[in-house]
Symmetry: none
Subunit: 255 residues, 2 copies
């Protein structure tokens, strides 16, 4: 069965998050928030150990009402996952199950392709204390292991969901290339040379270089310093104003 | 200054997480947990609005004692960031600052390459309610925007940190691209701030700014101009020598 969910941040068909035997109401709310942060909207709870609706979940959701109001509760695992074509079982540790073990990036890339085909995709998360059982993972086509610190690998449930939601969105978005802001019209070589000449003239006037040898090594160093920085026209003007003010102002104040 | 942190899940030199004016103790604990989940260990708090040590942070950290016990508290932003060569400012929205805007993947790839060079790298996170101020972001070489749902973009602080920590680990597990050789040891943020302070002091002395309004717009412009140029330590020294010579020399010659 293909269903279209309303587009909230992410267009079209999207994966569902399925929490198996969640123990803490707050966590369900924090999961809803993490999901909506990255545009996922469909949340299912299988045999939750708390009542529903749940005031603590509402508080922890920070306003993710469009997720909470659509939550569906299931009395059994089979009923919760029945309609999905593809399931992924998140796990903190490798298991004996004969299934591929994928990174979040690999799993969400697959899931995205499957969603584009119109398939229903679900990500399974286990109880806070114990994770998914082997039975709960059996229908999954792959395990997803979040590559964490082996000495401190226990992610909070909402944070595990966040990694999947974040990665799913990363797969959907073509990553925007870094934009280097072109703040300024770049200075012409003549403007740059004018700045350097001006600076060196003022430095000569205050005997900054002291010896011809020092001057011969420092003028190229100053030139390189300014040349390599891709200054804009307006920046050259600003720097010339500064040089002028320091040199003249110093004289005027003390002359 | 290069420092080696003990290897916990991630080997060698790693980025620090810097929380600017955090408001809620629990969040600092949840941040510590998220960091350690992916092997980051150095946490700094700038002017926290809660006491430290903090029982709620301990509870929320789920046992991330090796991060909490090493937390350093700073009374000012400048002191917290002074020793870093590279800062990244996380933000939920684009700003008027003329800085590159990177995805978490791009920023952590850069940060990883910089850590391999032995440079000190910090990721800045703002107060829960308001995020980073422009002032807090000025010394950063780039902004990092987590690509979230535009209609529900407010990530919990620990979850924003989690995305960065997760992405950093993903970069570590990915072979780094070829690197351009670095001509100069990059200036620390304290060296850069020292140059800016020195220059502004001398410009004040010669009344370069004339009006408070002009000063208020030009000081950030000067800061950005110098920040964006990736100055080396020796270049900062050279520029400070120039400022000193122009200001003092002018006075000496004419006084």
């Amino acid at each position: 069965v293909t269903r279209q969910r309303p587009s909230i941040g992410l267009p079209g068909n999207k994966p569902a998050i399925i929490l198996c035997r969640p123990q803490i109401g707050d966590n369900a709310g924090a999961v809803a928030r993490a999901m909506l942060n990255f545009g996922l909207t469909e949340l299912r709870l299988v045999k939750p150990e708390f009542g529903w609706p749940n005031a603590k979940a509402v508080a922890a959701s920070a306003g993710a009402a469009e997720v909470l109001s659509g939550v569906r509760i299931f009395p059994s695992h089979d009923e919760a996952v029945g309609e999905f074509q593809h399931l992924y079982a998140t796990t903190a540790r490798p298991r004996e199950l004969q299934k591929p073990v994928l990174s979040p990036a690999e799993a969400t890339a697959r899931a995205h392709a499957q969603c584009l085909e119109g398939h229903r995709v679900g990500f399974l998360f286990g109880a806070e204390r114990t994770g998914l059982t082997n039975d709960e993972s059996l229908l999954a086509e792959a395990l997803v292991m979040i590559p964490s610190n082996p000495r401190f690998s226990s992610l909070n449930l909402a944070q595990a969901v966040l990694v999947i939601a974040y990665e799913y969105r990363r797969q959907v978005d073509t990553p925007p290339p870094a934009r280097e802001p072109q703040a300024h019209a770049p200075a012409s070589r003549a403007e740059l040379q004018g700045l350097i000449d001006h600076l060196v003239r003022e430095l000569d006037a205050v005997d900054f270089f002291r010896t011809p040898e020092r001057r011969m090594s420092l003028v190229p160093a100053i030139t390189q310093l300014l040349e390599r920085r891709a200054l804009g026209s307006s920046e050259v003007d600003l720097l010339r104003g500064i040089v002028k003010a320091l040199a003249r102002g110093g004289r005027a104040n003390n002359g």
